[in-house]
Amino acid sequence: MSDAYRSMWKELGLDLEAHDMLLGVLGNAYQEIYLSQKERPEGMGYFDFVMSEVHGLRIKELLDEKAAGRKIVGSYCVFVPEEIALAANATLVGLCSGADFATEEVEKLLPRNTCALIKSAFGFKLGKVCPYLESADMIVGENTCDGKKKAYESLGHLVDNLYVMDLPQVKSENGRALLRAEYFRFKAAVEKLTGSVITTESLKAAIQTVNAKRKAIHRLSALREADPAPISGLDALLANQVFFYDNPARFTASVNKICDELEKRIEARQGVFPAKTPRILISGCPQAVPNWKLPFIVEGSGAVIVGEESCVGERGTRNLTSESGQTVDEMMAAIVDRYFQVDCAIFTPNAERLAHIEEMAAAYRADGVIHYGLQFCQPYLMEAIPVEKALEKKNIPCLRIETDYSMEDAGQLKTRIEAFVEQLKG
């Protein structure tokens, strides 16, 4: 860790001692969970580098961008349209929310039975350990679930640059109009922030950039259909996580490079696990860096994860934005259309998600589905009920997991997952 980084973190107002501790824990976890894997694709080396520099070089890049006049927009949700930020000369980054931090401080502001992701977002702020949050010129919150919606009211007292986006809850014409109005409001806000007006050219280029990123992930996902699996679920999840942090063009190139390698592996029938290893689809809540708990346990129990039906995963990247628009208005309409398809559990009803889970289970030839719910996340925990029912009807075994970020329940989770894998083996 160079001294240059330390002074950078200090200038950002991070708590250096706490931050050192966080990086220490993160480094150890990464070593134990990621670097101990066998037969990893060489291309993952890039992601190892990204992770080792996730609070270092990447932050320096962002600060350099800022110095050059760009603005940084931080987000907690896949409903915040990256296209609009990019087109207005801003960079969109995901904000830290994947680990417990400063829990005691957090619980002074939020009830204990708030989901781990929301508590984490607060913990990183209160503990002063998220350089992304501290670099951001604008933090975007959004009215998704009850917990987030209300927590942003409190977060507003902790940061002075919070912007809250309202979101529809029903996919009606009214809902679409609301999303449209909110995206135009967001566009105006980002334009005001950056002082640059979104043009036909800039929006078109932004749509292409983000689509390219999504297409690279689609390519990666499709390669996971192979048996033996050419890449572990852990590594694929990491690529999906880095999606939110990295420079878009570089990310796209790196994922495509891995895909080239994976294609060769598939041709050589080479995999990270033996052929016929039980294949599992994960469905449910997002898994943000460094929340690798579930895939670590699953892939340590003799199964491989072949897909993530999640915001950090296919729910977030599934749809492309149409590139056919010729005017800003037409392209904005395409963006609204694109995001309106995201099948988050905050929508009622949300039948599309059920259909997508079934489609994904078939496409990735999953032997079973693990429904991953964060404790106290009512939308996903409630949807798990019809999801399980529907999968059972199709004779696809389903295991419902409800957990948080702590390792307290790791032993019990391991037993359940091992038993589920035994069940899949028959």
Binding site: L109, L110, P111, N113, T114, N143, C145, D146, G147, K149, K150, A151, Y152, E153, S154, V164, D166, P168, Q169, V170, S172, N174, G175, A177, L178, A181, A345, I346, T348, P349, N350, G373, Q375, F376, Q378, P379, L381, M382, E383, A384, I385, P386, E402
Partner: protein, 383 residues
């Protein structure tokens, strides 16, 4: 203390039975029943069509174990109870209802309605979450019109503007009388008991202004008489408590009981089951009664709204009027909206009004009454 019941009709203390009797009467007359779950259901529109709104069962712990065989344990007891009543078939109001009106208030309810949507015709109203947004009022009005369409189709009845206007005027009259009634709880010492407010409110919510006015006028006279006779509740100097937060009914009224056992008097039951239901005034003769209804309902300061600053304003008005010595924020377990918002309420009560504040998070079970009692007593000691 031997005070004769305010509503001396044989149902004192049994508001559910009284309302069931009322519903059965209306049903016999041929008026269809529509189930509702929430303070956002526009009662006036329902009444304008000659339909009867019935508040569905949600306040008993009895059906919760049945609900827990399906629902996650970390869900609010109100939702678990509602769902349990339905799957066990034990809510008479649900059985009577030919359709159910639901709203996208909180995540738990929103998703629970999906699970019951195929049992009875269920219409979900898409409730705005940002009431101060320019579009919110227009959107909400649109949702009320959609509900009108649903009710017209389901019951083959129509509501014209004249009848809707008449219904909201009728509600204005009823609500004004109810607020007058609550004034007697604002007296020091109070001459109205929380059980009486609960009793009256239970009936007043679904009934029309025409039905309620004669009843309420008699009650108001009785209360006047109590004032003349010096009848009141609570020991001299008993701490006056305003209870805000989640709905309080049935088994949840344990909070009122505990406050009373600890020597306090509940002078202001806020919440949708209390005074909130009778707050606000519909604009009359506006030429657009649906818009008038939309405006009044969107002003309800529920924690599902963001930001919900209206709750702070209303709370201030209530504190000025009822002069409580302490504020209790009653939060049902796993109700994220009210639970998260409680932090703001606490600060407002303590910093703006200098009053002691206590957040209580509980469910319908009695297991924690001992602990609740200790906490309430400690609250009173801080007055």
């Amino acid at each position: 203390m031997n005070i004769s019941p305010l509503m001396d009709d044989g149902y004192a203390g049994e508001p559910a039975k009284r309302v069931l009797n009322y519903m059965q009467g209306r049903k016999q007359k041929g008026d269809p029943i529509v189930g509702i779950y929430c303070g956002y259901a526009p009662i006036e529109l329902i009444q304008a069509m000659g339909l009867v709104p019935a508040v569905l069962c949600a306040f008993s712990k009895v059906p919760i174990p049945a609900a827990e065989t399906v629902l996650p344990a970390n869900l609010c007891p109100l939702i678990k109870s509602s769902y349990g009543f339905i799957i066990e078939g034990t809510c008479p109001f649900y059985a009577m209802s030919q359709a159910v009106i639901a709203e996208t208030t909180c995540d738990g309810k929103k998703k629970m309605f999906e699970l019951i949507a195929d049992i009875k015709p269920t219409h979900v109203m898409d409730l705005p979450q940002v009431p101060d947004d320019r579009e919110a009022r227009r959107n909400w009005k649109r949702m009320i019109l959609k509900l009108q369409g649903f009710l017209e189709r389901t019951f083959d009845r129509e509501a014209d503007e004249k009848r809707i206007e008449a219904a909201l005027k009728s509600s204005n009259r009823k609500n004004a009388l109810m607020r007058k009634l609550f004034d007697y709880a604002a007296l020091i010492p109070p001459v109205l008991h929380w059980k009486e407010m609960y009793d009256v409110g239970f009936l007043a919510l679904p009934a029309t202004g025409e039905e309620m006015a004669p009843i309420l006028e008699v009650l108001l006279e009785k209360l006047e008489q109590r004032v003349r006779e010096g009848t009141h509740f609570g020991k001299p100097g008993a701490p006056r408590v305003l209870v805000s937060g989640c709905p309080v009914g049935g088994d949840a009224t344990k909070i009122f009981k505990v406050i009373e056992e600890a020597g306090g008097v509940v002078v202001a039951p806020d919440a949708c089951t209390g005074m909130k239901a009778f707050a606000g005034v519909f604009e009359e003769d506006s030429g657009d009664p649906i818009a008038a209804i939309a405006d009044r309902y969107l002003d309800i300061p529920c924690a599902c709204m963001t930001p919900n600053n209206r709750r702070l304003t209303d709370l201030t008005a209530m504190i000025d009027r009822f002069k409580p010595d302490a504020v209790v924020d009653f939060v049902l377990q796993a109700c994220h909206g009210y639970s998260v918002e409680s932090y703001k309420i606490g600060r407002h009560v303590q910093e703006t009004h200098g009053l002691p504040f206590l957040k209580v998070e509980t469910d319908y079970a009695d297991g924690d009454t001992g602990q609740l009692r200790t906490r309430i007593e400690a609250l009173f000691e801080s007055i």
